[in-house]
């Protein structure tokens, strides 16, 4: 069965407190400062019909109002 990986991230411009918390935590641990940190979700799935992946993302896996997503087909 073909496998796919879906990456979901907050849309640019939307306040991302999770990313900000990581930005603050890194220097606190002695690491050099990091910028533009954003966290998202990863969904991996096996599907017979990869043609429906986009609709799956639109309807369920992501909320297109606040999230962007990318679908990547994985090598078997």
């Amino acid at each position: 069965m073909p496998r796919a990986r879906v990456l979901i991230r907050p849309k640019e411009g939307i306040l991302d407190p999770q990313g900000q918390a990581v930005e603050r935590a890194l220097p606190a641990l002695g690491f050099p400062p990091a910028q533009h940190v954003h966290g998202g979700r990863l969904v991996e799935l096996g599907v017979e019909d990869t043609g429906q992946l986009d609709e799956m993302c639109q309807k369920l896996l992501a909320n297109p109002l606040v999230e962007d997503y990318e679908v990547e087909l994985l090598e078997q």
């Binding site: 939307i14 306040l15 407190p17 979700r41 369920l60 909320n63 109002l65 606040v66």
Partner: protein, 226 residues
């Protein structure tokens, strides 16, 4: 009149919601797998963690059989109130504009807040009189109201902002201090604060009762004057 209170696996405020409804009318539980609303006159979607809030808050609940019936009921003008997780579910279902994102503090918040009622022309706010803000608790982690610029301008202009946190009371970073909104017709309302927890004087405030009283008043058969 009869309220219906939806129960999903993971709901946790449905008992308080039922009691709040029963203060002003009759009330029934509506099970998530039933696509039948049992002829109720108004629907309340309570708070909690429907379907574990897996994936995203409210994302899975919106596809439950009962939500299909609620969507139809709401689109036909039936009064629907979504509280906290219920608000999130209604946004996911597209019955209400916008989305709820994690609080800017990234923390769970539980506190009494002052809430201004901005739009009193909905079936859930008509009994509100005067201009004193309502004292109602919030308890959530994902309550930061967000709508893209264009949508935000539209709902502000059309009176779809129903509740706003009183100045200085915005607990979660919601845009424009928005605590609750309605659909274009005004019959579907959602809010993050919990009016069902502010009905009995024992809990410190009875202001939340006004929402349930509003719906009961709107839907009660007219009583001829004696």
């Amino acid at each position: 009149m009869r309220f219906g209170v939806v129960r999903f696996p993971g709901s946790c405020d449905e008992i308080d919601a039922l009691r709040a409804c029963e203060t002003y009318g009759d009330a029934d539980v509506l099970w998530h797998r039933d696509a039948d609303l049992k002829g109720v006159d108004a629907v309340v979607i309570p708070g909690g963690f429907s379907y574990g809030d897996y994936l995203r808050v409210g994302a899975i609940a919106r596809f439950s059989p009962v939500m299909g019936a609620v969507e139809e009921f709401g689109r036909d003008g039936g009064p629907v109130l979504g509280i906290c997780n219920g608000f999130q579910v209604l946004c996911e279902a597209g019955l209400l504009p916008g989305a709820l994102l994690p609080n800017t503090s990234l923390r769970f918040l539980c506190r009494q807040v002052a809430v201004d009622v901005i739009n009193r022309d909905t079936p859930w706010t008509r009994a509100v009189e005067g201009h004193k803000p309502l004292s109602i608790p919030v308890k959530h982690t994902t309550g930061r109201y967000y709508a893209p610029d264009e949508m935000l301008e539209r709902i502000e202009a059309s009176g779809q902002v129903v509740f706003r946190y009183h100045a200085g009371h915005n607990p979660n970073g919601s845009l424009n201090d928005i605590a609750g909104v309605c659909n274009e017709q005004g019959n579907v309302v959602g809010l993050m604060p919990h009016p069902e927890h502010a009905v009995n004087p024992l809990s410190g405030s009875t202001d939340g009762g006004l929402l349930f009283q509003s719906a009961a008043r709107v839907l009660a058969p007219a009583v001829p004057a004696a």
